[in-house]
Every structure is written in structure tokens, then in C-alpha cells.
Amino acid sequence: MVENNRWGNFFAHLVLIIGVAIVIFPVYVAIIASTHPPGTFIRGVMPLLPGPNALENYKTVIFEGRSRAGTPPISGMLWNSFVMAMAITIGKLSISLLSAFAIVYFRFPFRIFFFWIIFLTLMLPVEVRILPTFQVVADLGMLNSFAGLSIPLIASATATFLFRQFFMTVPEELMEAARVDGAGPMKFFKDILLPLSITNIAALFVIMFIYGWNQYLWPLLITTDPEYYTIVMGIQRMVTGGDSEPLWHLVMATVVLAALPPILVILFMQRLFVKGLTETEK
């Protein structure tokens, strides 16, 4: 029988409900922990039901921080993360759209050569060239700056390839019609190509924003000034700051706030997210 039977369905639902519960569990625990007073974590096992201190904990982490441990209020870190994520996203999208446009709609010497240069970025993640890249950024005076946080990360082979792929599917005649209608290359790009790419841009925006927000190693390398800490790397400072046990209620409140923006982006733009994820890998 190809149709589903009732027991099979019941079993499948059971597996999925348990699975979803396990997947959600860590975040549930974090949310619960962020609502308890500090005393809860001194002894015994962590709580599984909400406590009374939610408002206070979140107020503390957002506005006060812990000056003794050297962690600033996280409102600033949230803002830094947001600026960095947006700069990376917009930067990646802009330069990739332009490169793909050049590669698809022009024929010029060294075209393939440039394509391979862009392709090389795929093979050189930050993790394999930590020190020399740090050196370059330091020499350029970009340590502790938003430019340093974002510009070195905005080269994107993936986005360039995706747009190239998409541009190749745009009918030839649209460009020809635009030329007969008196549109030059940049006018065609702005009036025809960009509006047509809007879904792809939105899908990539979701992916890139999450990528940017979740940067960890890079901000860790190039920021020493707490002014420029981002939230994701800031958590590490909170956890390891000092020898004592971390202040779990504050750490977890920070964790929740750090994870929330990208999670909300995914939940509200699930369709675009799935499209972006599956198409960038083609």
C-alpha cells in the first residue's frame, strides 16, 4: 500500500514531536534561565519553569552590562551586530550584482581570469588565513572600525554565481528590446535587471544577514575596543570573563537576545530563506 496507514502516521507524528521538542529544548532552557534570579544557579539543577526575574535580567543586560567583568551594556553590541550584518549583506549583494552583470552582459579581455579570482574566495575562508588577514587589516588601520568588521567579508563568490545563473535565464530579447528602447547598460541594469532580480536579492538577503550577524572569529580578531564588540562574540567574553561560574541568568538573557534577530528573520521569511539556502548551493 502506498497510502499512509494510521499507525505509521501516529508513529511519524510521535517521532517528529519528540524531535521538535529536542531541537527546541536548548533555547527553551535558555529562555527559562533568563527569567530567574542569580541565586537559582548556585546549587541544585537548573530550573525548567519560568522564574520572576525576567524584566530585571533583561534590563540589566541591555542597559547596564557588567562593568566589573568588562562587558558593556549589550544594547551597544546589538547595534554593532546590526550595523555589521547590514553592511555585510548590502555590500555582498551590491558587489555581487555588479560583478555578475559584468560577467554575463559584457565580453572583454581577462573575463575568465576575473571569474576565477572571484571563484578563489570560495577556497579561502577567514579561518585558513587568520594571521595575514589580520596583518592586512591592521596595516590599513581598519582595526576597531565598522569598515574593518564588514569590508573584508563582502567578497562573495556564492552570490556572484547565483546572480550569474539567474541573469543567464533572463531572456536575451529583454536586453535587446531595452536597447532598441534606448537604454544603455546601466539603465538596463537599473530599470530591468534589478527589478527582475528582486526575489533572488531578497532570498540572498536573508541568508547573508544571518551570515553577517553570526560572524564570530572575525570580530574576535579585529576588535579590542568594547565599543565595537558584537553580541555573538560578546557572549564569549561574558562566559569566560573571570574565573568564577558565569552569571547564567545574564548570560542566557544575552544568548536569547543574540539569537532572536536571525531567528525572527528566518521565521518571518521562511519561504525566501529556503529559496536562498537551496539556490546558493546549486
Partner: protein
């Protein structure tokens, strides 16, 4: 309004691939020229060379009194209707029509006026706010026409504009385009692979094959005096029958074919020039065995074979005759309706 003159136009692609060779056409102001030929004959390339979408590698192209070889498409004062219409999918019909005018810096009032006028002419006024995907195939076709119309160009270029429509709509749009063109008297170059479209729409048609012109002439001229065996086979449906002259000479008394040049070794016969009536004074007769009778309502197609040669013949009659398959039938044809060709050169003789 302008004439178009093509002088020795040729196109060679990189890698020495030849697409068009030595094309000379003079298109008079207001004339409708149809380029026709099988796929790959270079007709679209030629049209795109006129449009400026392909560079011209040989010869000279005049539009009006200008040489336009080096001009951008937008500067040639032409408008083009594409096979797949190439409507901008994200723009409304209004903006599709207006885009070219905006790029040329027309005033808003003038754009409005021209778009409204074209919309009225094409009966698409009700769709101006819609996007192309909300339109039917025929409506899209009209929008594509409209985009060419609003520009009031020196010439229209049509690249198989009807090939994406169903048969019924195609006939309807064919009539409309021709009427519109006659009314506006705009010089037009129209590309199609459909010989019927070519015959019905053209002031003059140009038959292309292998990148060269086979024949230029009015539809009736090309139909009744095909200059080459290729044209004879391509224009007219069913295609012209070709029988070896030697065989024909053996069938009939010598003087029946005396009016044909000796060089003629291939005789062309249009399927509709044969009849079942007995041969009259100026006619000759021809017998064959009926292999298949295809009744088609108002007319019928008869497929015949002959003893001793492998060539077969199709006859088109304006009625369905009362005959049985397998029978031997005798047809008559006016002697002047025979088309003599030379096999080796493929050219018509005399």
C-alpha cells in the same frame, strides 16, 4: 518614414562562420517586405543586422539617407517586435509602451497621448494597468505591437511575431498587422518561416536560403515564376512536384514540350494546376497510379506514382473526386504552367 537600402550586406561570425552573404535589397518608403526561408537561412540575422543587434561585417546599410552601420539600435529610428514579445515583466502595459519614449526624454503629456493613441488603435486600452503575465497570448502580442507603434519610427522590424500564437489567432493578427501597416504606411521588414504568412502579407517577398537571396518579387511573381528549385519547393503548399524532363518527354508527343528549352531537365508542376478534365488544345496529359486519396473537405490531395521512376506527384483538386485508390488516372495541365529547371544549377531556364 524612410526607405531602407541594403548594399552587399554580409555577416561573418567569429571563427569564420558565414551567416549572410551579399544581400542587396531596396525597400521603398512605406513598403512591406517579408523575409522568408527555412530556419537557419539567415533571415533573423539579417533583420537583427538592420536593427543594430548584430554588427554588420560587410556592406552598407542605409535607413533614410543615413548610413547606419555603426549606430546603436536606439539611434536607428526603428522599432522591433520580438518573437517572444520581450515585454518587461515587471512593468505595466502602460510603462512597457512608455519606456522607450521616456528614455528619449519625451514630455509626459506627449507620452500619454501616444500611448493612449496606440492603445486605442490596438484595443488594449483596458489593460494599460496590468502586468504582461496577466494578459493572454494575443493581448501580449498587441502590447508588443504597441511598443513599436508609439515610437512612430522610420521602420518596423518584425521577428516572427506570430509564431507563438495558435493557428486561429495567427490568422487574425496577420490581417490586423497588415491593415495597420497599410494604414500607417510605415516601411516594414517582416521575418517569417511560414510561406503562407509571407505570401499574404508582403508587398514584395525575399526568399532566403543558406544566407543568400534566392529570389525577390511580389508574392504572385514568386509564386508563378519561382526562380530556383528551392523557391519552387518552399513557396506553395503542397510543394511543387518535380519530374525528370526525360520521363516527361517519353510520356507525351514531342511537340508538347517543344516550347521548353532543351537545357531544361527538370519539370515543375504545381499540384493545383492539374485537373481531371480531358486535355484541351493547349494542354498536355499525364497518367499515374493513385496511391492515396486525402479528402480535406473543400479540397482533396491525390498522391500518384509513375511506372519506372521513383518520383511521386501530388495533385490538389478543388473537390473530392469519385475515384478508388489503385486506379490509373489521367490529368491534364496547360503547357504554359510547366516550370522548366536546370538540375545542376537549380535555376529556372527561360
Amino acid at each position: 518614414m524612410a526607405s531602407i537600402t541594403m548594399e552587399n550586406l554580409g555577416k561573418v561570425y567569429a571563427g569564420n562562420v558565414r551567416a549572410v552573404t551579399d544581400v542587396n535589397i531596396d525597400i521603398a518608403d512605406g513598403e512591406m517586405i517579408v523575409l522568408v526561408g527555412p530556419s537557419g537561412c539567415g533571415k533573423s540575422t539579417l533583420l537583427r543586422m538592420v536593427a543594430g543587434l548584430e554588427t554588420i561585417t560587410e556592406g552598407t546599410l542605409h535607413i533614410g539617407d543615413r548610413v547606419v552601420n555603426q549606430l546603436e539600435p536606439a539611434d536607428r529610428d526603428i522599432a522591433m517586435v520580438f518573437q517572444n514579445y520581450a515585454l518587461y515583466p515587471h512593468m505595466t502595459v502602460f510603462n512597457n509602451l512608455a519606456y522607450g519614449l521616456k528614455n528619449r526624454g519625451f514630455k509626459k503629456a506627449e507620452i500619454d497621448r501616444r500611448v493612449k493613441e496606440a492603445a486605442q488603435m490596438l484595443e488594449i486600452g483596458a489593460f494599460l494597468d496590468r502586468k504582461p503575465r496577466q494578459l493572454s497570448g494575443g493581448q501580449r502580442q498587441r502590447v508588443a505591437m504597441g511598443r513599436a507603434l508609439v515610437r512612430e519610427p522610420a521602420a518596423f522590424l518584425f521577428d516572427e511575431p506570430l509564431s507563438n500564437l495558435d493557428a486561429k489567432l495567427r490568422v487574425q493578427m496577420r490581417v490586423e498587422i497588415r491593415q495597420l501597416q497599410k494604414r500607417l504606411r510605415t516601411t516594414s521588414l517582416y521575418v517569417t518561416h511560414d510561406q503562407l504568412e509571407a505570401l499574404t502579407m508582403a508587398d514584395r517577398l525575399v526568399v532566403l536560403n543558406g544566407g543568400r537571396i534566392e529570389q525577390i518579387g511580389t508574392p504572385m511573381d514568386v509564386y508563378s515564376h519561382p526562380a530556383t528549385t528551392f523557391v519552387a519547393g518552399f513557396i506553395g503548399s503542397p510543394a511543387m512536384n518535380m519530374l525528370p524532363a526525360e520521363y516527361m518527354r517519353g510520356l507525351v508527343s514531342a511537340d508538347s514540350l517543344a516550347h521548353l528549352p532543351v537545357k531544361a531537365d527538370l519539370i515543375g508542376i504545381r499540384p493545383e494546376d492539374l485537373s481531371l478534365a480531358p486535355a484541351a488544345e493547349d494542354e498536355m496529359s499525364l497518367s499515374g497510379r493513385l496511391m492515396l486519396l486525402e479528402p480535406a473537405g473543400a479540397e482533396s490531395h491525390l498522391h500518384l506514382s509513375f511506372e519506372g521512376i521513383k518520383e511521386t506527384m501530388v495533385v490538389r483538386l478543388p473537390h473530392v473526386p469519385d475515384v478508388v485508390e489503385g486506379a490509373t488516372l489521367t490529368f491534364s495541365i496547360k503547357r504554359e504552367k510547366l516550370h522548366p529547371f536546370d538540375v545542376t544549377s537549380g535555376k529556372r531556364v527561360a
